[in-house]
Symmetry: C3
Amino acid sequence: MLEKQRLSTPREGFLNITHAVQDAVSRSGVLEGQAIVFVPHTTAGVTINENADPDVPRDLLLGLERAFPDRPEFRHAEGNSSAHLRASAMGSSVTVFIQGGALLLGTWQGVFFAEFDGPRSREFLVKIVQD
Amino acid sequence: MLEKQRLSTPREGFLNITHAVQDAVSRSGVLEGQAIVFVPHTTAGVTINENADPDVPRDLLLGLERAFPDRPEFRHAEGNSSAHLRASAMGSSVTVFIQGGALLLGTWQGVFFAEFDGPRSREFLVKIVQD
Amino acid sequence: MLEKQRLSTPREGFLNITHAVQDAVSRSGVLEGQAIVFVPHTTAGVTINENADPDVPRDLLLGLERAFPDRPEFRHAEGNSSAHLRASAMGSSVTVFIQGGALLLGTWQGVFFAEFDGPRSREFLVKIVQD
């Protein structure tokens, strides 16, 4: 099963999409398998990190800005090369196992859509694979 | 087949789990497929890198500390935001193909559990998928 | 289906391998599934990013050099620890969904082999999995 989901993003931020992915798993009826989330954009990515304290995604954003700042040497005319860089650092997909119809995430883990060049209307794809 | 394996970690470090993953492949009896390793933590990750010279994982750790240092602006009360950042930079899963019952890794490659906020009792999941 | 493809790389750079991956999908005859690209090296990786403006991969390379520079404290005798670091930051594999026999990439996305320690004769593996 392959689903496309849409979301509206702020200028930048880690958006928690864990429930949306779990809903796709539930709709699929798959009990044992994998959920693969893919982001079809080049200035947004996807990662798994802490679901509990909202200061964590905020700090992640700050840390990525400092590690991959905008630079005067960048040539890409749109001026968003740092967003492209942050997107590749996070990655374009994550895989989560499914057990008993539920995402097999760690206690503190959630799935986050990482926006680095919004606000935009974005989408992500979820594929549910049965074992 | 889905297996959980435990390991005890130092304060930080790249721990070679290649043999543990290969053992899971062997136990599964799968000859052609994929091994997917997933880390269910938010301050540890998993990556594939050089298996030969122990200075490589040591340098990786140092390079990540410099790229993603602790920052006074971080707000997360636990004080380990840089560990969260390094975990997302490495990622939560890796996929390795299986051929003839063996992990199809490059000559110099190994699979490493990346601890950024130990020492802890940790775990990783290995799913063996048959083609 | 599992295929090995070879490429010759420059000293460093993001090489567009999208067509090569699509060709593997076409040869496989798979209409719905996943293409998984795996790089069996430790100073090269693979990522998905912008396919349109060649200044984007150029800027990615520059941004990674600045985030993960060579450091005097690195001990690895080959002197290429920064290349190992950049490889792990990009990752060793990407997954792309297949729909109707075509890679389901976003409008601007392409698949790039990321060379950080060339020039070399390199390879990448493509596995096509049917749903």
